[in-house]
């Protein structure tokens, strides 16, 4: 299934760098969290990184991504600045939203990261609107919008799929299906586990990837994105994945009883961070990891050092 090109040494290094960065930033966030320096509800994507990393690896710098309150991976994988992200979570003026948005509202227009939104589903039509503008501009740019299985239930998401297909918008819909919306499992929310089939009936290519394999995700998205750049219209990917930590907060929550730790362990065995680490020559891997550790520590230090916004900032940005 994997074409050799997809596993070229350069690709492997790029993917590992990005995966490792996301994982380590979030692990650091989880470590720092109990000190109360991050006064922001954190929704970690630990365990889910391969989707954002696999897709964003195919995107150009001038392409667009749109994510949710669980948006750390989306932000970092599209080239978001870890310094600005950490400072945002610390509520500092050096943050990507000047401390006004926090963990749930990461943004980075320079890197093509639309603002993340915490009202579930709201980012999906907004991303389609951006895609409409990209299409009109005719530079072959695309938008990739990430959302959860829960978000897929919102009316506005279905409405957007229909509109995007109708207008052949250059947008890739990626549903990160981690089987839960907060603590509610799919079977309490869907009568039929056929999301991909439902979306296909809107008139767009739709594929389900159940493996969590970063190469399979990247491979599937690759052809779809290429076609999209040539006016082929939208496409949909449902990627199965698993959230290792609690819905919101830094810890595990298997003791709560709504899901089994053994389910996570099955996904842990397929962990793409560990898998790619093992595919790299030892020295090269160590080198990458050391560089990223330094980058993460620099981001934490930057966040600590950045000042809080001055009181006058409260009234800035109400109107443009």
């Amino acid at each position: 299934m994997d074409s050799p090109a997809l596993k070229s040494p350069e690709t492997l290094v790029r993917l590992y760098r990005s995966l490792y960065l996301v994982r380590r930033v979030e692990e650091r966030v989880a470590e720092i969290y109990p000190t109360d320096r991050i006064k922001s509800p954190v929704h970690l994507s630990i365990g889910q990184e391969a989707i954002a990393v696999g897709i964003c690896d195919l995107l150009r710098a001038d392409d667009i991504v749109s994510g949710t309150y669980r948006g750390h991976a989306t932000y970092l994988a599209k080239g978001g600045d870890p310094k600005a992200m950490l400072a945002e979570m610390f509520g500092k003026v050096g943050g990507c939203a000047r401390g006004k948005g926090g963990s749930m509202h990461l943004v980075g227009l320079e890197q093509g990261i639309l603002g993340c939104s915490a009202v579930v589903g709201t980012n999906v039509p907004v991303a389609a609107g951006y895609a409409l503008a990209l299409k009109r501009r005719g530079r072959g740019q695309v938008a990739a919008v990430f959302y959860g299985d829960g978000a897929s239930e919102e009316g506005c998401v279905y409405e957007t799929l229909n509109f995007a297909a109708l207008h052949k918008l250059p947008i890739l819909f990626i549903c990160e299906n981690n089987f839960f919306a907060i603590h509610e499992p799919l079977h309490r929310r869907w009568a039929a586990d056929q999301l991909t089939e439902r979306v296909a009936t809107f008139g767009m290519p739709a594929r389900r990837i159940t493996s969590g394999d970063i190469f399979e995700i990247r491979d599937a998205a690759s052809g779809l994105i290429d076609a999209m750049r040539d006016g082929g219209g939208p496409a949909f990917l449902e990627c199965h994945t698993y959230r290792w930590r609690e819905h919101v907060g830094p810890a595990e929550d298997y003791a709560a009883g709504y899901r089994a730790r053994t389910d996570m362990e099955e996904w842990e065995r397929r962990d793409q961070v560990a898998r790619l680490a093992a595919m790299l020559p030892e020295a090269e891997r160590r080198q990458i990891e050391a560089e990223i550790e330094a980058e993460v520590e620099a981001a934490v230090a930057y966040a600590e050092a950045s000042p809080f916004p001055a009181a006058e900032e409260l009234h800035a940005h109400v109107f443009a």
């Binding site: 922001s40 926090g102 009202v119 239930e153 009316g155 907060i182 109400v318």
Partner: protein, 358 residues
């Protein structure tokens, strides 16, 4: 029916969250048409405990989660209500009611009238307002004024456990859609609450404190912040007539007007923006009724006219607090500028847990 003003000593204390839960459980026992649904009402967190035990006692037909489809689920509640059931639709944040707006405003509020009185929509829409710890732009809004604007919707905002229980029972038994507004920070606060079911009638304001110098109206958890402010104002000998409207539609203007007629000073503190808000409505009605009768000093306080920022450095300036409320009241009462409440008292006021009765 008891009232919190006449509560006997020794009545058990209940947290706001438990009062809500008890009210719903008692009504579900009484009336098999009452049911409780909404995102996450049946998980182990049980909406911060406010729906705890309902699934176990009443089963999944009467306590169930939904897909993330608030717009449609609101329509479902309306339809079930028209059919004679009494749904309680729960939202963990008031911000999410924006997804329900079309159904609430265009259907729920209007059905009884536009169908000439032939249908009723007896439903309760519970929603909680969040604050702090980075709740920010989309998890902190008090949007009651939007609902107050529309005829056909009742809007209640109890500030203590007693009213939470009494208003919830009244809301469930009401034949109209009732927007029931809760505040996250009120959940742990205790008050004496009778064990038997009782109703707190809508349209009757509650005096939380009696005084002669200034009338303060506090809405939702701002009623509690105003109580703290009133204790700071004792320091300068200002006595506060503190009123909690409890229900915003219907609104007990009689009590508020009677108070301002005595004090000639009104400060309304809302848990929302000031512009076109509940405070504007209250102030306007007071001015209309008392404006001709001599000097009248009126002021409104609420959220800063901005989106709610997440960083604590800015959030501290976003909300009214006991200090800013006390200082505004002091100034309104003609006090000399520059008064700062004793910092130690202020610190204590912030920590003060109110047990009522109010």
């Amino acid at each position: 029916m008891s009232s919190p003003d006449t509560l006997s000593a020794g009545m058990r204390s209940l947290r706001y969250v438990d009062a809500l839960r008890e009210a719903v459980a008692q009504e579900m026992r009484r009336d098999p048409d009452v049911f409780c649904f909404g995102l996450d009402v049946d998980d182990h967190r049980a909406i911060q405990g406010s729906t705890q035990g309902l699934l176990d006692e009443f089963g999944p037909d009467r306590c169930f989660t939904t897909p993330l489809s608030e717009d449609a689920m609101t329509g479902v509640a309306i339809g079930a209500a028209m059919a004679g059931m009494r749904p309680i639709h729960v939202h963990i944040r008031m911000d999410f009611l924006m997804l329900c707006m079309n159904q609430l405003v265009n259907m729920a509020a209007k059905a009884h009238y536009m169908y000439g009185g032939s249908v009723k929509v007896p439903m309760v829409v519970r929603s909680m307002i969040g604050k702090s710890w980075g709740q920010g732009a989309q998890h902190s809004q008090g949007l009651h004024a939007m609902f107050m604007h529309v005829p056909g919707l009742k809007v209640v905002a109890p500030s203590n456990a007693y009213d939470a229980k009494g208003c919830m029972i009244a809301a469930i038994r009401d034949d109209n859609p009732v927007i029931f507004m809760e505040h996250r920070l009120l959940y742990p606060i205790e008050a004496p609450v009778p064990e038997e079911p009782f109703m707190v009638p809508f349209g009757r304001a509650r005096h939380m404190r009696r005084g002669d110098d200034i009338t303060i109206v506090g809405i939702s958890n701002m009623a509690v912040e105003c109580l703290r402010a009133a204790s700071l104002l004792e320091e300068v000998g200002l006595s506060v007539d503190l009123i909690d409207p409890v229900s915003l539609v219907p609104l007990d203007m009689e009590t508020i007007v009677a108070s301002v007629a005595r004090t000639r000073r009104l400060l309304v503190v809302d848990n929302a923006w000031v512009s076109a808000g509940a405070g504007a409505e209250i102030a306007a009605q007071v001015a209309e009724q008392l404006g001709g009768g001599g000097p009248l000093a009126i002021r409104r306080m609420g959220f800063a006219p901005t989106t709610c920022p997440t960083t604590p450095a800015l959030e501290a300036h976003f909300y009214p607090n006991p200090l800013t409320i006390a200082k505004a009241a002091h100034a309104l009462a003609g006090g000399a500028g520059g008064w700062e409440p004793d910092p130690e008292r202020a610190r204590l006021a912030y920590q003060q847990a109110f047990k009522g009765p109010f």
